[in-house]
C-alpha cells in the first residue's frame, strides 16, 4: 500500500510540475505574440485560433475565442489545456481507427463514462430505450435553418460580427425536419436563437425502432440535447437535434450548424473528420447550449453572444 501511494505521487508530482511549466510557456508565447495572432485571426476566418498557429504540438487547443489581449490574466484557460489533453488521451484508447465503423457497446459504455466524468453531465447513448444508430461518425456542414416563417439571411444574425463569419454558409431552403423553431419573429426568444445556432442534424430515420414508432421517436428526438466532442482537439459543445439527416449516400453520419462546425474545427469535404455525439440526460433543462469544457465550465464562444434580438 505504501509503495502504491509513492507511485501515484511520482506521476502526480511530475504532472503538476510539468503542467505548470507547460501553461507558463504557452502563456508567454501568446502574450509575446498577441498582436500577430490577433492580426491573423482577423484576416483569415480559416486560421484556427484554436491551435494558435501550430504552437500547440498536439491538437489540443487553447479555448477558442480566447481574448488574446487578456491572456496574461487568464490562468484558468491554460490549466484547461491539460484537462483537454487528458480527455483526448483517455478517449483515444477506446476509439476505433476508422470512424465509419462506429463504437462497440463496450466502447460506448466506457466513453459515456469518461464524458460524464469529465463534463459533470449525465451522458448516455440511450434514453428511455431510444438511441441513434451510432454515437461516433463523420460530421458534415449544414446551413442555417429558418427559425420562423420569413426568416432570412438579412434577419438571421444578432451582430455584424456574427454575420461576417457565418453569412457564407447560407440558409437551407424550407424548414428543418422538425419545423420552425417558433411561430414568428415576435415570438422568437433567446432559447430558439440558441437552438438554431447550436443545432445538429442526425439520422433519426436509422434509429432502431424508428419506423415502427415514428411519432414517438420524432417527439423524442426533437430538440433533444446532445454533447458533441471532437476527439482530436478535445473541443466540446452542447447541441440540440434540430433536423433529420444527412442522407446515407453522403457518407456523413451527422451534420453540424455553421457555428458548431467552426467551434469544433471540423470541415466538410475531403477533410471531413469524426465527432462523438451522445445524449445529455437533462430532464430539467438546466444544461446551457453552446461550447463547454471539461469540468463543466462554459467555454468562451468565439463570437460574443448578444442578448439583442
Amino acid at each position: 500500500m505504501f509503495f502504491k501511494k509513492q507511485k501515484k505521487n511520482t506521476y502526480e508530482i511530475l504532472r503538476n510540475k510539468w503542467a505548470k511549466k507547460h501553461a507558463l510557456l504557452q502563456k508567454d508565447f501568446i502574450s509575446s505574440n498577441a498582436h500577430i495572432i490577433e492580426e491573423l485571426k482577423d484576416k483569415s476566418k480559416h486560421f484556427a485560433v484554436g491551435s494558435l498557429g501550430g504552437i500547440i504540438l498536439f491538437s489540443t487547443p487553447i479555448v477558442s475565442g480566447i481574448d488574446v489581449q487578456k491572456a496574461e490574466s487568464n490562468e484558468m484557460v491554460f490549466e484547461d489545456i491539460d484537462k483537454q489533453m487528458f480527455m483526448i488521451t483517455d478517449l483515444s484508447e477506446y476509439l476505433p481507427k476508422d470512424p465509419t465503423t462506429g463504437l462497440t457497446s463496450g466502447q460506448e459504455k466506457i466513453i459515456g463514462e469518461i464524458l460524464s466524468r469529465d463534463f459533470g453531465l449525465d451522458i448516455r447513448a440511450e434514453i428511455d430505450g431510444k438511441r441513434l444508430e451510432r454515437n461516433y461518425g463523420l460530421i458534415g456542414a449544414e446551413q442555417h435553418l429558418m427559425r420562423y416563417p420569413g426568416d432570412n439571411m438579412a434577419s438571421h444574425f444578432q451582430s455584424p460580427d456574427e454575420a461576417q463569419v457565418y453569412y457564407s454558409s447560407g440558409m437551407a431552403p424550407g424548414r428543418g425536419g422538425f419545423g420552425y423553431f417558433t411561430y414568428s419573429r415576435e415570438t422568437l426568444t433567446q432559447k430558439e436563437v440558441e437552438r438554431e445556432k447550436y443545432y445538429i442534424a442526425v439520422q433519426t430515420f436509422r434509429a432502431p425502432g424508428y419506423m415502427e414508432n415514428i411519432r414517438e421517436y420524432v417527439d423524442f428526438f426533437k430538440f433533444r440535447k446532445m454533447l458533441l466532442v471532437n476527439p482530436h482537439n478535445g473541443k466540446a459543445i452542447v447541441t440540440v437535434i434540430g433536423d433529420a439527416g444527412p442522407g446515407v449516400s453522403t457518407g456523413k453520419h451527422l451534420g453540424g450548424s455553421p457555428e458548431i462546425m467552426k467551434y469544433l474545427e471540423r470541415v466538410d469535404g475531403r477533410s471531413r473528420g469524426p465527432v462523438l455525439f451522445f445524449f445529455i440526460n437533462d430532464p430539467e433543462d438546466r444544461v446551457s447550449l453552446g461550447p463547454i469544457e471539461p469540468g463543466g465550465v462554459k467555454a468562451i464562444d468565439h463570437i460574443e453572444n448578444s442578448n439583442q434580438l
Binding site: Q6, T10, Y11, I13, L14, F29, I55, L57, T60, T89
Partner: protein, 111 residues
C-alpha cells in the same frame, strides 16, 4: 513525437527511457510524454520567432499552422546558427524534464 520541422535536430530517447523506467501506468506515461513534447515544441517555436524580423513572424506562424516544413526552413534559414539554437533550447528543457524524473522517482523506479 509527431514529425515537426525540427525533428531531425533533437534527440529525446533519453527522456523516453527515463519515463519507461518509472513504475507508472501507460496512460500516465502518455500524459507526461504529451506535456513534455508540447513544452519542448512551444520552447522551440518561441526561440525561432524571437529571432525573426517582425515581417516574417506572421508567415512563420501560418507555415506552422499548415505544417509546411519546407516553407518554414526557407523562411528561417537566415537566422544565424538556427539549427544549433533550436537543438540547444530543446535539449535544455529536455534535460530539465530528465532531472525532474530522477529527482522524484528514487523510490518508484521499476525493478
Amino acid at each position: 513525437m509527431k514529425k515537426t520541422f525540427y525533428s531531425h535536430l533533437i534527440e529525446l530517447d533519453e527522456l523516453y527511457i527515463e519515463l519507461d523506467n518509472l513504475d507508472i501506468s501507460k496512460k500516465e506515461r502518455e500524459h507526461l510524454v504529451k506535456l513534455a513534447e508540447s513544452s519542448i515544441h512551444t520552447t522551440v517555436m518561441s526561440c525561432v520567432i524571437d529571432n525573426l524580423v517582425e515581417d516574417d513572424k506572421k508567415d512563420f506562424i501560418m507555415h506552422s499552422e499548415n505544417e509546411d516544413h519546407k516553407s518554414i526552413w526557407n523562411l528561417i534559414s537566415y537566422i544565424e546558427g538556427v539549427e544549433y539554437k533550436i537543438a540547444s533550447v530543446a535539449h535544455n528543457i529536455r534535460d530539465e524534464f530528465i532531472s525532474d524524473i530522477k529527482k522524484h522517482s528514487v523510490s518508484s523506479t521499476k525493478k
